[in-house]
């Protein structure tokens, strides 16, 4: 009798454990890219108004942090301003036996911020790269006044850091590049410093001026505007992504579908980014 009870208890325990793992509350966690925090919060806010039974919790931390959280199971959706790395896909394969699901959800241009008092207003991608690599250190080398260039950038966990490094700097950042936690902090630093230069999402450029970016010496400089980012004539533009460990189901699927719907995509322009469709 005692044995039977023990067997029944063990069986129930197993069933409960497995059953609970399938239980999904109407709570979605979103973590990752700081660039996408405002956009993601806006999506969550509008969606929750329309679906009062759903709770969506949005936090930043950087693309790398979001993807790490997706891999270790502490978030449902990882926001990332760069594509997932092959090494991260390998970790997803090892942990969940899936390749992950990539959803491009918005387009963004990376602005190069300059102080409004800075005489320089146009740079080639190569010059920007050399500046952030520490090879060009004085504004006079790029047509400005004789003053040292002060660099502001993002932390290494940021997707913006990675994207800018891979596509513009193409080597290590200069050790003198001061890392700041978030694009708003970079904008603030450049606003206060006449000889500063920084980078970040085009949506954040308030109180600073956007630098015109030239693909090379022969092409004209282009401002990061809605049109130039959408038609990809602005040279430093990118997709913003949401990543999931596997194909979404339930409330997560409804939220993702809504983001990709005309209604969700409409929210994007209000925040300063650009729809994918």
């Amino acid at each position: 009798m005692k044995n039977t009870k023990l067997k029944v208890a063990s069986f129930l325990l197993v069933i409960m454990t497995i059953g609970l793992s399938f239980t999904s509350l109407n709570k979605i966690t979103v973590k990752g890219s700081d660039t996408m925090v405002i956009l993601s919060q806006k999506w969550a806010e509008v969606y929750m108004q329309k679906n009062p039974g759903t709770t969506i919790q949005v936090t930043g931390g950087g693309s790398g942090v979001g993807i790490a959280a997706l891999i270790n199971g502490s978030t449902d959706i990882a926001n990332s301003s760069r594509p997932m790395k092959a090494s991260e896909v390998e970790k997803l394969k090892a942990r969940y036996s899936t390749l992950g699901v990539e959803i491009p959800c918005a387009k963004d241009g990376l602005s190069v911020y300059l102080n409004k008092a800075n005489g320089v207003s146009e740079l080639t991608i190569k010059q920007i790269g050399l500046i952030f690599a520490g090879k060009i250190t004085n504004w006079k080398e790029v047509g400005g006044v004789d003053a040292g260039i002060r660099l502001y950038g993002r932390e290494s966990s940021s997707g913006t850091f990675g994207f800018f490094k891979d596509n513009v700097v193409k080597t290590d950042y200069a050790p003198s590049c001061q890392t700041l936690p978030g694009t708003a902090a970079i904008v603030n630093a450049v606003k206060k410093d006449k000889f500063a230069i920084g980078y970040g999402g085009a949506a954040y450029a308030e109180g600073v001026k956007d630098c015109k970016v030239k693909k090379d010496d022969k092409t004209p400089g282009v401002y990061p505007t809605a049109e130039t980012i959408k038609n990809r004539t602005y040279p430093i533009s990118r997709y913003l992504y949401m990543y999931l460990k596997s194909r979404p189901t339930g409330e997560t699927k409804a939220f993702v579908d809504w983001i990709l719907s005309p209604e969700g995509q409409k929210v994007i322009e209000g925040v300063g980014y650009f729809p994918v469709k």
């Binding site: 454990t17 497995i18 790395k85 394969k93 969940y96 036996s97 390749l99 890392t179």
Partner: protein
């Protein structure tokens, strides 16, 4: 009237003075605070600089503590178990490792990973990794690191089952070796999902004594090659990795004696003779996003392995603890693993693996236990408690070939099953 005017003049003068005093003290206070902020700023920059150096050092590690129940022959489990005092169950620390990696500049990494046991500390990984900064494709490793095999490189902290297949344990004892490796990953730069590895090793790690592990015991080096191509079909939630690898090495005889060749014929070998260790393998893994993730992994290896029997005579022989006899053998081995994720926190896995150390003999033709074939089942259920902790329950069921000529316990399947409950904590 005059008095009133005088009163107002005095009042204005007083207010004016008060304002002057107030503005002066305010300026003084602002200056004082500005200086304090500048001082703090300076201290903060210093701290930031120190912190930036510290972020280049990364620690990771894991601990595997487990409880095992044995269904061994006469209930004699591993370790100090004897017929007189049979042990049916035991607590056991399987792994206690801390890995330290330091990346002073992008692309240069130093890694050290000791393994802690209650009576000793051994060095598992110790290597320098240099990433090519121009093509972003090649990586050079030098030192002591994992051999280039999928099962070996798949860390035991991530593995779905409690132990690697029998084949891996025999072909790659202790997993590591001393040498150099070049890895090419064409994904980052060229978006071609192909990875290639070429490694040169001493080839005697994990065989013989610890002294044999320190340096090479002969002038010949063992070579490993491995290539894997990854197909991805994102719209179908499907990924397929297909690869092949080769091991081209040798065993140098350190103790003269009678050896048996691949056709089971005895011959005499002298010190310095060299026998082949040469095998080729194919591997495939399928990942499918079916109800939360599922995978099927398999590997097949065939070739010739050679080894020496361990004795107490010096110099210490090249004895692989799992291929511990004087011989050369044509072998085949494979495994197939099925893994299914259930929700976010649970995973089940089943593996069937086979190791035939002598494919020319079977059943009662087999005369020594080292030639017996093993087919093994392994089952596991993993529960991911949180980001750092997982609980694993597993059962392993090796089934050996039986032979009346080998005799003893091997006239039937030996009892050697193990049930394990493991708690793994990692950081």
């Amino acid at each position: 009237m005059k008095k009133t005017i005088l009163f107002f003049l005095l009042l204005i003068a007083y207010i004016g003075r008060a304002q002057t005093v107030s503005i002066d003290s305010l300026k003084e206070s602002v200056d004082e605070h500005s200086m304090k902020f500048a001082g703090l700023d300076e201290r903060l920059s210093g701290m930031e600089s120190d912190l930036a150096k510290l972020t280049k050092i990364k620690f990771s590690g894991y601990l595997q503590a487990q409880y095992e129940m044995y269904n061994y022959q006469d209930n004699i489990g591993p370790g100090p178990s004897t017929t007189a005092v049979p042990i049916k169950n035991s607590f056991y620390i399987r792994r206690a490792r801390i890995k330290l990696s330091y990346e002073p500049t992008t692309g240069a990494v130093f890694v050290i990973q000791p393994d802690y046991a209650f009576d000793k500390v051994t060095l598992r990984d110790a290597y320098v990794q240099l990433n090519d900064r121009w093509l972003q494709t090649f990586k050079l490793f030098m030192g002591q690191f994992n051999r280039t095999s999928y099962e070996v490189e798949f860390s035991s902290r991530s593995r779905e089952l409690l132990e690697r297949s029998r084949m891996s344990g025999i072909l790659y004892p202790q997993e590591r070796d001393l040498g150099a490796k070049i890895e090419a990953d064409l994904q980052t730069k060229y978006e071609i999902p192909f990875k290639f590895q070429l490694a040169v090793f001493n080839g005697n790690y994990g065989v013989g004594s610890l002294t044999n592990d320190l340096r090479d015991v002969d002038n010949k080096k063992d070579v490993m090659l491995r290539g894997v191509y990854s197909f991805a079909f994102p719209s179908k939630g499907l990924g397929i990795d297909i690869g092949a690898h080769a091991y081209l090495g040798n065993t140098t005889v350190l103790q003269a004696g009678t050896f048996s060749d691949a056709n089971n014929k005895d011959f005499t070998a002298k010190i310095g003779d060299s026998f082949q260790k040469r095998w080729f393998g194919g591997e495939m893994r399928v990942y499918y996003d079916f109800l939360g993730g599922m995978s099927l992994k398999g590997e097949y290896i065939s070739g010739a392995i050679s080894g020496e029997k361990g004795t107490t005579i010096l110099p210490v022989a090249n004895s692989n603890p799992s291929f511990n006899f004087n011989g050369i053998r044509d072998f085949t081995g494979f495994y197939a693993t099925w893994v299914k994720n259930i929700g976010k926190s649970n995973q089940i896995a089943v593996r069937y693996d086979s190791w035939d150390p002598n494919r020319h003999l079977s059943g009662n033709e087999v005369t020594i236990k080292e030639d017996l074939k093993y087919d093994s089942w392994a089952f596991s259920w993993q529960y991911f408690y949180d980001d750092n902790v997982k609980i694993v329950a597993g059962y392993s069921l090796p089934i050996n070939e039986s032979s009346t000529k080998v005799g003893g316990n091997f006239t039937k399947d030996v009892l050697d099953n193990t049930f394990t409950i493991r708690i793994q904590a990692g950081f």
